[in-house]
C-alpha cells in the first residue's frame, strides 16, 4: 500500500485520513520512504523524517480526539527559503549554510496550525535567483520528467525547482514555493504541476528570506487546482508582522473550484505571441482558448503594449531591491564569516566566498543602478515603466475578467543549456514577470505534453485579490485538459 499513498492528491489523502482508511503515520512513512529513494533528484536539501513522524503521530492523536484541522496529517515539503524554527534554513546559499532560525515563518506556522506535517526543506536557486535551479549551492534539482528515449537530465525550472520536482515525483502531497518573477509558475509548467502566485500581500512575507521585497510572494505548488486552493487557503491571511500584508479575509478558495465560468470574459494578449516561441506552445494556447470557449467564456483579444519592457524593468527593480536586502549578510550577527585582516576585508571576503556567481552578479547590477549618477536613468526609469505595465493590466481588466497566456516560452531544457548566458536564462520569465511587477495573481496549470513527451503549462492572470475566479477558470481548464500524465519513476 505504501507506494500508492504517495500518488494520492492532497484532497484524496485528507479524505482518506478522515475516513480512517490510513493514519497520518502510514501516509507520512510512505512519503519519507519515497523521499529517501529519490535522492538522485536532489529535490530535498534537508530531510526531516523524525520530525515528520512525530508530527504525524501528533496529528493522529488530534484526529482521534476530533480536533483535526483542514490539513491535518498531510505531509508537505517546504522551500528552503522559509524560516523553520530549529530546522536549518539556507536559501541554498553558502552564506547561510549553518543558519538555524529561532523563529517560524508566518506561512509555515499557518500550515502547522492547520495540522500539516513537514517532510523536509526543498532545494531552490540561491536566494531564489534563477530559472533552472542551477545556482543552488547544493547543485541543481533534476526534473523527474525526461524526453522520450532520452536519459539527459533536464531542469525542473526555478527558482522553486525542488518544490515542483517533489510534487511531480510524489515526494510530498504539496509544497510551499515563492515567486518573484515566475519562480512558482515556470517550474510548475516545466514539471506538469499546478502553481499559484497569489496577489501581492495575500500571504505574509514574514520569515521568508527576502529577495526583492516589492515582488516576492509566497504560494503553493500542488498536484491539482483544488489541492492548490486548499493549500493557499491555509497559507494566506493578514499578518501584522508584514506591513505589506493585506488586511483582508481569506476566501474559501476550494469552493471556487468547479464553479461555472459561463459568461466570463477572457483576454488573450497579443503581445504574448513572441518571436521564436515553439509552435507547439502556440497551438496549446489556442487549445486553452477553445476549452474556455466550450465552457461558455467569451474570448477577447486585448493589448498589453508594454509587455516587452517587463523583463528589463524587472532586471533593474529586482537586483536593486536584492542589493539592499542582501546587505544584511555581513558576517557579523549570523551566517558565514571569513576572517581577514580588517573589518572591510572581513565583509568583502565573507560576501565574496558566501555568495554564488548569479547572486553576486545581481548585487553588482543592483548596486550599479542605485549608485550616484545612475539612479534616475535606471532605477527611477524602471519604476515609471513598471507603472505603465501595471496600467496596461488595469485597462485590460476594464474589459475582461482574466487573461490567458502560455506560462513559459519552452518546455524543460537540459541542465547547462542556458547557464552561460544570463540574458537567455532571464527570458524564461518573459510571460510571468509582468504579473509580479503589477502585483496580480497568476496560476499555471499543466495543459498537455509536447512532442518530446514533456509537460507544457498555461497561465491565467486575474484582478488583484480575485484568485477565486482564477481557481474556477483553472478548474474548468483542468477538467478539459484531462492531464493525467506522470513521469516514469526511473529514480526509485
Amino acid at each position: 500500500m505504501g507506494a500508492d499513498l504517495t500518488s494520492l492528491t492532497l484532497k484524496a489523502a485528507i479524505e482518506g485520513l478522515k475516513d480512517k482508511s490510513f493514519s497520518s503515520e502510514e501516509l507520512t512513512r510512505a512519503h519519507v520512504d519515497a523521499v529517501e529513494r529519490a535522492r538522485t533528484l536532489n529535490a530535498y536539501v534537508l530531510e526531516t523524517p523524525d520530525k515528520a513522524i512525530a508530527m504525524a503521530r501528533a496529528s493522529d492523536e488530534r484526529r482521534a480526539k476530533g480536533e483535526a484541522g483542514p490539513l491535518d496529517g498531510a505531509p508537505l515539503g517546504i522551500k528552503d527559503l522559509y524560516c523553520t524554527q530549529g530546522i536549518r534554513t539556507t536559501a541554498a546559499s553558502r552564506i547561510l549554510e549553518d543558519f538555524t532560525p529561532t523563529y517560524e515563518s508566518t506561512v509555515t506556522a499557518n500550515l502547522w496550525r492547520d495540522g500539516a506535517v513537514m517532510l523536509g526543506k526543498l532545494n531552490l536557486d540561491e536566494f531564489a535567483m534563477g530559472s533552472s535551479n542551477e545556482t543552488s549551492a547544493f547543485g541543481p534539482v533534476i526534473n523527474p520528467w525526461r524526453a522520450h528515449n532520452s536519459n539527459q537530465p533536464l531542469t525542473p525550472g526555478g527558482s522553486s525547482g525542488g518544490s515542483a520536482a517533489a510534487v511531480a515525483a510524489d515526494l510530498c502531497l504539496g509544497a510551499t514555493a515563492t515567486d518573484t518573477g515566475g519562480s512558482i509558475r515556470q517550474p510548475a509548467a516545466l514539471t506538469g504541476t499546478v502553481g499559484v502566485k497569489p496577489t501581492y500581500g495575500r500571504c505574509s512575507r514574514w520569515g521568508i528570506v527576502a529577495f526583492a521585497s516589492s515582488l516576492d510572494q509566497a504560494g503553493p505548488i500542488a498536484k491539482t487546482v483544488e489541492d492548490a486552493a486548499i493549500l493557499l487557503r491555509s497559507m494566506s491571511g493578514h499578518d501584522p508582522k508584514d506591513s505589506t500584508s493585506l488586511p483582508v479575509e481569506t476566501p474559501d478558495f476550494p469552493s471556487f473550484v468547479g464553479k461555472p465560468v459561463k459568461g466570463l470574459r477572457i483576454g488573450v494578449p497579443k503581445e504574448y505571441r513572441i518571436e521564436g516561441m515553439p509552435e507547439e506552445i502556440d497551438r496549446l494556447w489556442q487549445k486553452g482558448v477553445d476549452w474556455l470557449k466550450d465552457a461558455g467564456c467569451e474570448i477577447v483579444e486585448v493589448s498589453l503594449p508594454h509587455t516587452k519592457y517587463a523583463l528589463p524593468t524587472y532586471y533593474i527593480v529586482a537586483p536593486a531591491e536584492a542589493s539592499s536586502n542582501l546587505a544584511r549578510y555581513d558576517g557579523m550577527r549570523y551566517g558565514l564569516r571569513v576572517d581577514a585582516k580588517n573589518l572591510n576585508d572581513v565583509y568583502e571576503e565573507t560576501r565574496g566566498h558566501g555568495f554564488g556567481d548569479e547572486v553576486k552578479r545581481r548585487i553588482l547590477v543592483g548596486t550599479y543602478v542605485l549608485s550616484a549618477g545612475y539612479y534616475d536613468a535606471y532605477y527611477l526609469k524602471a519604476q515609471k515603466v513598471r507603472r505603465r505595465i501595471a496600467d496596461d493590466f488595469e485597462a485590460a481588466f476594464q474589459k475582461v475578467d482574466a487573461l490567458l497566456t502560455p506560462t513559459a516560452p519552452s518546455a524543460a531544457f537540459a541542465l547547462g543549456e542556458k547557464a552561460s548566458d544570463p540574458v537567455a536564462m532571464y527570458l524564461n520569465d518573459v510571460f510571468t514577470v509582468t504579473v509580479n511587477l503589477a502585483g496580480l495573481p497568476g496560476v499555471s496549470l499543466p495543459a498537455g505534453l509536447d512532442s518530446q513527451g514533456l509537460p507544457l503549462g498555461l497561465q491565467l492572470i486575474g484582478r488583484p485579490l480575485d484568485e477565486g475566479t482564477l481557481f474556477s477558470l483553472a478548474g474548468a481548464m483542468e477538467k478539459a485538459a484531462d492531464f493525467r500524465a506522470k513521469p516514469e519513476r526511473w529514480w526509485a
Binding site: 549553518d98 543558519f99 538555524t100 529561532t102 523563529y103 501581492y200 516589492s214 515582488l215 501584522p240 505589506t244 493585506l246 488586511p247 516587452k308 519592457y309 528589463p312 532586471y315 533593474i316 542589493s323 546587505a327 555581513d330 557579523m332 550577527r333 549570523y334 551566517g335 558565514l336 564569516r337 581577514a340 580588517n342 573589518l343 576585508d345 572581513v346 568583502e348 571576503e349 560576501r351 565574496g352 555568495f355 553576486k360 552578479r361 548585487i363 553588482l364 547590477v365 548596486t367 550599479y368 549608485s371 527611477l380 526609469k381 524602471a382 519604476q383 515609471k384 515603466v385 513598471r386 507603472r387 505603465r388 501595471a390 544570463p422 540574458v423 509580479n436 511587477l437 503589477a438 502585483g439
Partner: protein
Amino acid sequence: MAIDAATVRRVAKLARIREPEERLEPLARELSSILGWIEQLGEVDTDGVEPMASAVAAKLPMREDVVTDGGDAGAVLSNAPADADGFFVVPKVVE
C-alpha cells in the same frame, strides 16, 4: 552603456564583495550585456508618470510605539559567528 573592469572594481567595492582580479573583465562583459539589454527602456515615454515603488496602493499601517518582542539575547546570539558574555564579537572597528 559599456562597463569596464575599473567600474566593476568600484561597484564591487561599494557592494563589499571581493572579486578576484581575473573575474573583473568577464564580469564587465556580462554586466555590459545585461545593461545593454536593459537600455531598451529608453524607448518608453514616461513623461509625467508616477514611479511605482510598491504593488500595494494602501498606506503603510502604523502601530503603537511599544515593545512587542525581545528580551531573549540567547536566541538573538544563537547563530552568531562569534559571541561572548551576551554580546556579538566583531573584528576591531577602530584602529
